[in-house]
């Protein structure tokens, strides 16, 4: 039984990471698109970013050195990631539910990372973990774990409730959307219950992680906790296949679309990339496009459909 649990935990982690990477690589490999930025762009000079301005506000802007306000971009990124700034600003009622849910998940991810780190340290440098450091880490893990479970469950319950009771949200929610939130609620609920009601003497979270790391199949994980861990692992593997993987998408929608104001300079890399795209042969069927599968974008763009086509 323990072996099966370990195997499922490992397999789910692999699937989760692999599917996330495949998704991210897919977006990263998509062709560079035409510019489509949306202001404010936070890496603009801070005086301009404040009102949403761009370098186009300077005359002869192409003669000025390029400017990248890294601090502005990082601030915008982290306030969005950590505090869900846009949701707070534009949809406060949902933010009250979504924010605890996300913070809960961040705390749970932190807990898993801490447990893994602690387990590695316990196995390889046990002396570190026997003293005060071990006690501190234990308390931190407990706090992040319990806090994460509570917040994520409260948030998920709030989100399910809102999806079912708000007529706008209900109309656009698919069965899958409801299932996803309920799945979080159930998986985390079972973990919480399994942890809270585990029999005395049974392994705790760290014990299980150490057991997994050393593949110690003699450990007896209580049934309810094992079920919770299993459900959570399956959920983690499932998330990258759904729109809940927006943690990946969001990186690209912000960095590669909304904030992508890179200038195409003569002889630069953008121009070289475009040169390749202009050789693509589209097959659009409307006659005015004059695409027949053999003509390139360069041919099409230099064809005047009102003056006869250059075939």
């Amino acid at each position: 039984m323990t072996t099966l649990l370990y195997a499922m935990l490992c397999l789910s982690a692999v699937v989760c990471v692999a599917a996330t990477v495949v998704r991210a690589v897919g977006y990263a490999r998509a062709p560079m698109h035409l510019r489509w930025e949306l202001y404010p762009v936070p890496h603009e000079a801070s005086d301009r970013a404040a009102h949403g301005g761009s370098y186009f506000e300077d005359s002869n802007w192409w003669t000025k050195p390029p400017h990248f306000n890294l601090r502005g971009e990082l601030t915008a990124m982290f306030t969005e990631m950590l505090f869900l700034k846009a949701l707070r600003e534009f949809n406060l009622r949902l933010w009250w539910r979504s924010f605890p849910f996300h913070v809960g998940l961040y705390l749970l991810i932190t807990t898993v990372a801490l447990l893994l780190g602690t387990a590695v340290a316990t196995v390889f440098v046990p002396a570190w973990m026997t003293g005060w450091l071990g006690r501190v880490v234990y308390q931190v893990c407990r706090a992040t774990g319990v806090g994460g479970l509570v917040l994520a469950m409260v948030g998920a319950a709030g989100l399910v409730h809102r999806r079912l009771t708000d007529s706008d949200l209900r109309m656009y929610s698919t069965p899958g959307d409801i299932f996803n939130l309920v799945a979080f609620l159930v998986a985390l609920g079972v973990v919480a219950a399994g942890y809270a009601f585990r029999p005395a003497g049974s392994p705790g979270a760290l014990g299980i992680v150490i057991g997994l790391l050393t593949w110690d199949t003699t450990i007896r994980v209580p049934g309810l906790l094992a079920a919770g861990l299993l459900l959570s692992a399956l959920l983690a593997a499932y998330v990258p296949f759904t729109h809940m993987s927006h943690f990946v998408g969001k990186y690209f929608t912000y960095h590669a679309v909304r904030w992508d104001d890179r200038v195409n300079r003569r002889g630069g890399t953008i121009e070289r990339t475009l040169a390749e795209y202009l050789t693509y042969r589209p097959t659009w069927s409307a006659p005015h496009v004059t695409a027949d599968g053999s003509r390139s974008w360069a041919d099409i763009a230099t064809t005047n459909p009102t003056k006869g086509t250059k075939r």
């Binding site: 698109h33 202001y39 009102h51 949902l94 005015h288 695409a291 099409i300 003056k307």
Partner: protein, 537 residues
């Protein structure tokens, strides 16, 4: 009585041949004074029965694209086949490298949280009519993507939702793609970065590039006419030169300063490209530009090359091929004259088209620097080269932010710096800058006036902006006080012209609209007073 009923996504595929959406006047967002008076509410002309019989007008109370009804079942089937073939192409690298990445991201990550809905002026002004919700259109598209492009089965339908693919759905989707101003205000508020404006844009592309279906004002008499004769106004180079000569004479007479517009000057520093609509509808604008540039000693020229004298690029709204062709024509005109830079006149979409979007179309020698006239004018005003007397503009002025120039390009402050310097009674609309609302004429609507579409434009898409304008002038609505609504964009001016007239706001409340350069010339001490004539035009 309001006939507002809850519309569902599945209604898109209804086969009853009836519109699925309806807006009653009493459903609309209320307007402030003086349009809070029901007596000043304009009735909505019903779509005429012939139009309903001939065209696929089955979305709502109006019709923008006028797709003829297919005569046979086979024709319907063929149209659906074409649609699905175009849908596939939207998601391939060869056909849509131009927008594939943002489109995929918008297809795959919507959390269906509806945060974007409150940002959309069309949705809000319509009284939150379901079909105008930003995600209504996007959700249909998303379901189509998972079902027909990704070939998802039952599990996919359970996860992403299902849609019935039939001709009525496609026909409604064509119209629905033209109920969005592409202002992208919704995208600005989306926590994930999903872009409903982009989805409408891509749908329009699919219909145009695969099925040859587009609003005739932006295709047949828009980009096609521009590529044929040089301008979507229909003006050839000879005609445009004649008109500009006439404008020079008029401006000279009005201002007391001789104005001459230079044509085709090789090696000029600036190639100015106007939206040619200005030349016909608002000649004082190109006249004022010429006067300012001459007075400031700028080396500049107009071009008489094909499309070189008309900055419009309607392809931006519906067709990548047409977009690229016109952008290249603009750059070729500049290259031929060996100018230092292209400066775009007061036209928002031309700003974004040539400066931003075309940045990844124009390569090599065609990659000629492009600049906004807002910055050039700001520099001229700030330099002190013109003697300006702000007291000549001693009337209330507010400023409209064209979406394409502001939210989508980041040119926010230069025009404000000018106005603050020369208009002592300037007041902002709320919200403004990158948070502005579209005038309601964006994405081609300002030039689209088939059937009763103007009623929709003024009651629905322009309503939020109208509210903003009335609020900005709320303290001075009395007709004894002339007021100036500054819109540095030809397209927005077209919308304001028609909308202010529709609600009689010039006659009854003396709200005039106009461009930015007119305010500058009006404040120039050397110019005869009264360049702004306070006449409706």
């Amino acid at each position: 009585m309001s006939r507002k009923t809850r519309i569902d996504l599945s209604d898109m595929s209804r086969r009853d041949g009836e519109p699925i959406g309806h807006v009653d006047l009493q459903d609309l967002m209320p307007l402030p004074a003086p349009l809070d008076d029901p007596a000043r509410e304009r009735p909505w002309t019903p779509l005429n029965p012939q139009a309903r019989a001939r065209y696929e007008c089955i979305l709502d109370d109006t019709c923008a694209v006028s797709v003829p009804k297919p005569a046979t079942k086979e024709e319907e089937t063929e149209l659906v086949r074409q649609f699905l073939s175009g849908l596939d192409k939207l998601f391939t690298r060869e056909n849509n490298w131009t927008f594939l990445q943002p489109l995929l991201l918008s297809m795959e990550h919507c959390a269906r949280c509806q945060t974007c809905a409150d940002a959309c002026h069309i949705y809000e002004a319509s009284g939150r009519n379901e079909i105008y919700r930003p995600t209504y259109r996007s959700e249909i598209m998303r379901r189509l993507y998972f079902k027909c492009v990704k070939h998802g089965g039952m599990i996919s339908a359970w996860q992403h939702g299902d849609v019935d693919v039939n001709w009525p759905m496609v026909a409604r989707l064509i119209e629905l793609a033209y109920r969005c101003n592409l202002c992208r205000r919704c995208a600005q508020t989306c926590p994930i970065g999903v872009d409903n404006g982009l989805i409408a844009h891509e749908l329009r592309k699919l219909f145009s590039q695969e099925m040859g279906i587009a609003a005739k004002e932006i295709h047949d008499t828009g980009s096609m006419l521009q590529l044929k004769v040089g301008s979507s106004t229909g003006m050839s180079a000879e005609v445009v030169k004649d008109n500009i000569q006439f404008i020079d004479e008029e401006t000279s007479e009005r201002t007391g300063i001789t104005v001459e517009t230079p044509w085709d000057v090789e090696g000029a520093e600036v190639l100015l490209i106007h939206n040619a609509g200005e030349i016909l509808a608002w000649p004082e604008n190109p006249g004022a530009f010429a006067l300012i540039l001459n007075a400031a000693g700028i080396s500049w020229t107009l071009s008489s090359e094909l499309a070189g004298y008309d900055s419009i690029n309607y392809g931006l709204w519906y067709d990548d091929a047409q977009f690229a062709r016109v952008a290249i024509k603009h750059a070729e005109a500049a290259k031929k004259l060996k100018v230092g830079k292209i400066v775009l006149g007061e036209c928002g979409h031309a700003h974004k088209a040539l400066s931003v979007i075309a940045d990844r179309v124009l390569t090599g020698e065609l990659n000629i620097p492009r600049e906004s006239s807002m910055t050039l004018l700001r520099d001229i005003v700030a330099s002190g080269r013109l003697k300006l007397d702000p007291s000549r503009n001693d009337f209330p002025v507010t400023l409209h932010d064209p979406c394409n120039m502001v939210r989508l390009m980041g040119v926010v402050e230069p025009q404000r710096e000018i106005i603050r310097a020369i208009c002592p009674k300037f007041r902002e609309m709320e919200p403004h800058g990158v948070d502005n609302y579209c005038c309601g004429g964006g994405s081609g609507f300002a030039i689209m006036s088939g059937h009763n579409f103007p009623d929709w434009r003024f009651h629905v898409s322009g309503r939020k902006k109208l509210e903003q304008v009335l609020n900005a002038f709320g303290d001075c609505l009395d007709p004894s006080i002339p007021k100036y609504l500054c819109a540095p964009c030809s397209n927005c001016k077209g919308q304001f012209r028609d909308m202010l007239a529709y609600y009689d706001l010039w006659e009854k409340n003396r709200i005039l609209y106009g461009g930015l350069v007119e305010l500058i010339v009006n404040a120039m001490s050397e110019v005869k007073p009264g360049f702004i004539e306070w006449e409706w035009h």
